[in-house]
């Protein structure tokens, strides 16, 4: 690999300078933050709630645990984790984007989720937490947007307690070719139109569709987690592989 190549990364289908990706991703989420929850329900027909619920079921979280929700955005997972860890536990909602973090904080406060949640603006690639400090870490629909995914995975491993687990919920590759085609049509034709109609922003949703396609498929991500040092890595396809939940442990 030549130097000039290694300095570039994908931003949807475009190749951009590595140093520029974070800023461009930030722009996307600045632009969608306010309408994010509505769009989520619309785009996934509400199914994202079930994907998240599945993630919670698999997390094995108990009262008293410390949980880190990276790229937590508007806090759907954080809210449920907060309920499960209780007053003795703690949930940290971390996101690189201040606009998303504010929407999340506001939403959770309005719903009375207070006391055991803290909000931290942080980059998944360099988490500002001590080694071995969380029982469970989740990153839902976030890893796709991270510039250096390997570095982010290593950073997560570092802050995970021994015995703890990482759950990565992310768009993946549909297993059925037919579903794949329908899904392609949906993502590249309907999705940007919906983005335009509801959020007045087709570009961000075009990026969303492209970034989903550029994201590593099930086996690749599994390999990346193993390489980063996670043990017992496995994954489950949801909705025919449109989404996959990867799970890895630190022993």
């Amino acid at each position: 690999m030549t130097d000039s190549q290694s300095e570039r990364t994908d931003f949807g289908y475009q190749k951009v300078d590595k140093s520029a990706k974070a800023g461009m991703v930030a722009q996307v989420f600045n632009s969608v933050a306010a309408k994010y929850d509505i769009m989520n329900d619309l785009m996934s027909l509400g199914i994202h709630r079930l994907w998240k619920r599945y993630t919670l079921d698999c997390s094995g979280v108990r009262p008293g645990m410390r949980v880190l929700d990276i790229a937590g955005g508007t806090g759907d997972l954080t809210e449920q984790f907060a309920k499960r860890v209780g007053a003795q536990g703690e949930v940290v909602l971390a996101d690189i984007n201040d606009a998303m973090l504010s929407v999340g904080r506001e939403k959770l406060r309005n719903r009375g989720v207070v006391g055991n949640v803290s909000y931290v603006q942080a980059d998944a690639e360099q988490l500002p937490f001590a080694d071995d400090s969380f029982d469970v870490i989740t990153i839902a629909f976030g890893l796709r947007n991270v510039t250096d995914k390997n570095r982010a995975l290593r950073s997560m491993l570092r802050v995970l307690k021994p015995g703890g687990r990482l759950l990565v919920l992310e768009f993946s590759k549909p297993v059925q070719p037919l579903l794949n085609q329908v899904y392609d049509f949906y993502s590249f034709n309907l999705l940007p139109k919906m983005g335009q109609l509801v959020a007045g922003d087709a570009d961000s949703y075009q990026y969303l569709a492209e970034s989903i396609r550029m994201h590593p498929d099930q086996e690749t991500l599994k390999g990346m987690m193993v390489d980063a040092g996670f043990d017992n890595v496995d994954y489950h396809n949801l909705t025919g592989g449109i989404v996959a939940l990867h799970r890895g442990y630190k022993f």
Partner: protein, 203 residues
């Protein structure tokens, strides 16, 4: 389909928590169980259900393969019966129940709902609507009938076994023959003893 069971699950969870919160006495019972996890494998459900007690209620999960404190395999109708520890052995013997882990915990989970001070039929109808309530109560009655049958079978089995056990007892004739044999044996032993006594002692 991994996601399908999640819909009824979230509804059931909501309902369970509403019912718990309707009784002020629940809070202390929940407090005592906080952090405990119970897995239910019910005849009526396609998948095991895992319950975790959190600060202000219970959380249900279907895709949870993590450790639990107690695993119960049984039928819906048996759940309220668990409240009495006296029932537990009886149910296990009748093959209506299997418990792994702490049986006390099964008992306390059962009491959590069983001791609720509510009229189930009316409460369910008002919370989830007449039709689902009717369906649920019907399933419940089916389950109770299954349990009654199971327990009756157990009773019959016990009765049969006792009768058979009578057959195991020896008859009067058999006993007489046996006594005669024993008498003869004793006589031979006596004779043998006398002969032994008459032998000169070795120096």
């Amino acid at each position: 389909m991994m996601l399908l069971p999640l819909l009824p699950l979230t509804l059931a969870e909501k309902l369970a928590n509403q019912l718990l919160h309707a009784d002020p006495a629940s809070s202390a019972r929940l407090q005592a169980l906080r952090g405990k996890r119970l897995r239910l494998t019910l005849r009526e459900l396609p998948q095991p259900l895992t319950l975790t007690v959190v600060d202000d209620g219970v959380v249900f999960a279907v895709h949870d393969d993590n450790d639990v404190d107690c695993h119960i395999q049984t039928a819906l109708a048996v759940l309220p019966e668990l409240r009495d520890s006296a029932n537990i052995t009886r149910l296990i013997k009748a093959d209506a129940l299997d418990i792994e882990g702490d049986p006390m915990l099964a008992q306390r989970f059962s009491a959590l709902f069983r001791d609720l001070d509510i009229d189930w039929q009316a409460t369910l109808a008002s919370r989830i609507g007449e039709l689902p309530a009717y369906w649920l109560i019907k399933r419940w009655r089916q389950s109770r009938r299954w349990l009654t049958r199971r327990m009756a079978e157990q009773r019959d089995w016990l009765r049969d076994t006792v009768v058979e056990e009578k057959q195991l007892l020896v008859s009067a004739v058999e006993f007489a023959v046996f006594s005669d044999d024993l008498q003869a044996l004793r006589a031979r032993l006596d004779r043998l003893q006398r002969r032994l006594d008459s032998l000169p002692a070795e120096g």
